[in-house]
Subunit: 289 residues, 2 copies
């Protein structure tokens, strides 16, 4: 299910990115390199699945999915830079600044962020400008200083000093949680869900994102680089406080389970249409990469 | 006139940026450092002046002005990075990565871009979602791969090799011209100008932006670093093709004049209300920093 949807989202990204041409061809090439060629498309899946729940499957949902994947890709390109996490490997391939160079990677990340907003603003995403501007506002809120980028700043500053559990929870709620919650909410916005339904989906997304990150820490501590397709054990090595360091491996596994179960609880009113979202919560705690 | 408006825009930026607090305080501090404390606010002035021409002076115009200045500031922060133009000085002060560090500068630029879109998406900018989404679409178009960032990529690749005049013109039309044109168009969007009026303003903005860049090359070749508040002669030193290298100083001055005059020509239908925009075109070619 995940693989089939990933292929659809991949193809939407391919269609939506500008073709490689002109004096800026290297930039466009790097944008494609950073976004295409794999990935689970977890965030995009989430958007399309919630959109379908509210009767909004189709081109608009694929565009929203492509947009959130571009935003996510931009964050990975910048996070991998030497001045940031200094990671040479991403999905088993050279990270963008290794494949190209630092300047190109910085610019490709910048332009991917812009492109994510450009896609949402286009009438092809939703005929109603009110829905499009709500998507733009929600993405900006999730990804900027009060969200993802704020979380990345806290993460950079946390290197080499011990953070307490509430600090680590807030860090990840911002750094990865907000964008995952947005991916869920975006589907509800696209489907013009009622405020109560949108709120339930937002809470599901928040807990799903938290479960995702705790499970990620467990994977980082237990799986090999080959399995993960990225450098393993990096966070511990960089002296970052992880959920595994704070809770132990068994404790972190139990916490991921608790969060995934709580996430599913918010889906109770949605019946059989939400079975894909329930399966996603299971997948998040059971995945191996 | 420029100084008075600049103070209003400065105060709008100050109000609109998030307050410095939390674990991400360093990020918020760097965002403020990069955007506040001076600058001519040329792009913001242009937006407010066009908005006023179409009867849309006020809070919305100041928000649009603050937004375009944040977008511009993000581009400067990233352009100054060691992997890009490697500039230690900006407006006579340490550039953001010198004042803070590279990671913080990358993140501050990222978050300033996001904030520029967040401000446009907010109902306080314009009550009509159609106007707000048009602003978002226009800013994304002007600042991403088909605009500013694409131009910066061409600029990086042009170092050390000779570009012909049409290539240099396209480079700058993208790198600086598109955002200046947007700043003008944004005022017209805010004032719900007719398509014909918006088009005239866009053409004025395009030529004004071109004149601005040619005049900038002349300043870079003729003024001291002290006068400019930034490193002088850097482009020539980096082996970049400039208008001065291609046209000579007198030729470049004449070209800037020609472009400014052509820009003003597009204002003919607007009468006395456009006197500020005419003065701005004069200012662009007569300024000393």
């Amino acid at each position: 299910m995940l693989a089939e949807r990933a292929a659809l989202i991949e193809s939407a990204i391919d269609r939506l990115l500008p073709p490689v041409s002109g004096g800026e061809a290297r930039l466009l090439d790097a944008m494609r390199y950073a976004t295409l060629g794999g990935g689970k498309r977890f965030r995009g899946f989430l958007s399309t699945e919630v959109a379908a729940l509210f009767g909004a499957a189709g081109e608009g949902a694929l565009r929203v999915a492509a947009s959130v994947e571009m935003l996510h890709a931009y964050s990975l390109v910048h996070d991998d830079l030497p001045a940031m996490d200094d990671d040479d490997l991403r999905r088993g391939q050279p990270s963008t600044h290794k494949k190209f160079d630092e300047a190109t990677a910085i610019l490709a990340g910048d332009a991917l962020q812009t492109e994510a907003f450009a896609i949402l603003a286009d009438p092809a995403t939703h005929p109603d400008p009110e829905a499009r501007i709500a998507l733009v506002a929600a993405l900006a809120d999730a990804s900027g200083a009060p969200g993802m980028v704020g979380g990345q700043m806290i993460d950079m500053q946390g290197e080499g000093r011990a953070l307490a559990l509430p600090e680590v929870e807030r860090l990840h709620a911002l750094k990865t949680g907000r964008l995952i919650r947005y991916a869920a909410e975006a589907g509800a916005i696209l489907g013009r869900a009622s405020p109560a339904d949108r709120d339930a989906i937002a809470q599901y997304g928040r807990d799903l994102g938290a479960a995702f990150q705790v499970a990620d820490d467990v994977l980082d501590a237990t799986e090999t680089a080959e399995q993960l397709g990225k450098t393993a054990g990096k966070d511990a090595e960089a002296g970052k406080s992880t959920f595994v360091a704070l809770l132990g491996i068994d404790g972190a596994r139990a916490e991921a389970e608790r969060l995934a179960t709580r996430a599913t609880g918010f889906l109770e009113g949605f019946g059989a249409g939400a079975s894909g979202l329930r399966a996603l919560a299971r997948y998040v705690v059971e995945r191996r990469n």
